[in-house]
Symmetry: C2
Subunit: 329 residues, 2 copies
């Protein structure tokens, strides 16, 4: 069943859920740039109109403004597509306990809806953005895809593992061709949430002090969005059927304190750091995230942006796009 | 956080979903026998009235006839309970692809509803019947709880792993005390589906021939329902907080052909065996299921019924209770 394609086959019609999001909009731009047609689906609950300005100027792009829980709209929008990138999600790992139904609906049930809309349209190729959070507090680091069966520590991770399970069961039961990506945190232009966003917002409000969740020693790996999207495109062309999982992350990590240093350097600030204390920034926070991405590299993927560069480029983009901080306030 | 109790503390009020089912009704009887109060919840979609005849004769038993997707009824019924055994499920692993929504609703969303009803009532103790099917086609056999991160091969397994993830996330995020059991197939009195049921039904219709799914060489482990319920009670008393997973199975396995021999022997029949062929009986069937249950044994659990005895006792019970075959026809 392993049938990697040799390279891009431009001119396909690709469906992207979460098309107005950080990664989704960057993916749409990249697909259009190589000659694919794109149907972007988004309800703009967290997606941003300006992110699609470039895509919407392309004749190959169609925008469908609808909710992923609207099964009829979803199935209708998907008609004629060959492959689906399912990126729409509640991507907020920190506040799961504030609204547990959100992860269930936006991630688990939404993924089911996407799979059923594909079945209704005879589409079998799906690529899905899962998360390194599914490893919980991994015992093997760097963590490979076949790490010991983990215990979920967040509603977000639980909802993503539910989505992964659905896709692999559809691969087995319905002949789908599924590819799942377990991301570290993604950085770069159009970044709309995460620690760089939070720190920059806090320093805009008060440049003299910076409250930090945890003890600053949490170790995390990050990946630039362009490297992430390069992996998505490569996997669309090369990931074998029926089902494969790929970690996506840089082959290194940094401490939260390193990142604070780079952000302060970019801004020319030396704020007093006020740690909330403890190994974890929040309930379910994983104090050490570092994924083994050698399986994806074996497909030919070579990420080109380092973590420090990613943090600095993100901060520079945020400084030039302060409307994002306001739109998410 | 590890606080095992020393032994049973009778007189508690225990909530059991799927109370009219095979395992649920046997559990209700056992809880009542040791002096607990039981609130049994069932919609009787697959549950059987006669299974609760004994429990309903007990003053300690309350039956609530309602659906687990009815969130208000569920939360109201749970009031005053100390612990929840969540056994209600679509337990049909074979026909997931016939109705994918059923596993999503009856297993994943139902488990979410149970957890939210518990939150609404301030109940934190939950014990959940998952399945060895979550290991997919395990690479390590006998399979331990921390086997390599598996790929789901059935919608049933996918829905159960989603339920497990929700429970562990509630343990982390809301201070729940969760215990998950990954069962092999269960045998014994009140058995209402599975291979003994199917084979007996086929032989009643035609004693001269027996169609067998697959090649008969599939290796499976089975557990008697009394041994299963003994483990559930022991774990209620002894499984540590916040979250543990226990495999439940005998420390051996048999071939489907062995079981066919025992069934034929019980019935005095030597039917012609007509194999459908192939290693797997159905899409998503796992040709070798054998779980390492040493973690549960370390809690003090000693299963007493062997597999052959389990198959023979099941067949004898079915012969004396043919109404079950009719009610499930």
């Amino acid at each position: 069943m392993s049938q990697p394609l040799d390279g891009p086959r431009p001119g396909r019609r690709i469906f992207v859920t979460g098309a107005a999001g950080f990664i989704g909009s960057t993916l749409c731009d990249a697909l259009l740039a190589r000659g694919d047609h794109v149907v972007g689906y988004d309800n703009f609950s967290t997606g941003q109109e300006p992110f699609l300005a470039g895509a919407r100027a392309s004749p190959g792009f169609t925008l469908v403004r609808a909710d992923i829980l609207d099964e009829a709209a979803l199935a209708a929008a998907m008609a004629g597509c060959e492959a689906v990138f399912h990126l729409a999600a509640n991507a907020d790992v920190r506040f799961g306990t504030h609204h547990p139904r959100r992860d269930l609906e936006q991630n688990t049930i939404a993924t089911y809806n996407v799979l059923e809309a594909m079945r209704a349209n005879g589409i079998k190729r799906i690529l899905f953005s899962s998360t390194g959070s599914v490893y919980g507090e991994a015992k093997v680091i760097p963590t490979p895809e076949d790490a010991p069966f983990p215990v979920q520590t967040s509603l977000y991770g639980a909802s993503k593992i539910a989505g992964e399970g659905l896709i692999s069961a559809y691969a087995e039961g319905f002949g789908f061709h599924g590819t799942v990506f377990r991301f570290v945190s993604i950085l770069g232009p159009r970044y709309t949430h995460g620690h760089v966003f939070d720190f920059y917002g806090k320093l805009l409000a008060d440049p003299t002090r910076l409250p930090v969740l945890g003890n600053g020693l949490q170790r995390k790996s990050y990946l630039h969005v362009d490297d992430c999207v390069a992996a998505l495109l490569l996997a669309l062309d090369r990931a074998p059927a029926p089902f494969e999982i790929y970690n996506l992350g840089q082959d290194t990590y940094c401490q939260v304190n390193d990142s604070i240093g780079w952000i302060g350097d970019e801004l020319g600030l030396r704020p007093t750091l006020e740690y909330s204390g403890g190994e974890r920034g929040w309930i379910g926070d994983n104090p050490f995230i570092f994924l083994d991405a050698s399986k994806m590299r074996a497909l030919g993927w070579v990420p080109v942006h380092g973590i420090e560069q990613g943090v600095r480029l993100t901060l520079r983009w945020l400084r030039q796009n302060q409307w994002v901080l306001e739109s998410r306030a």
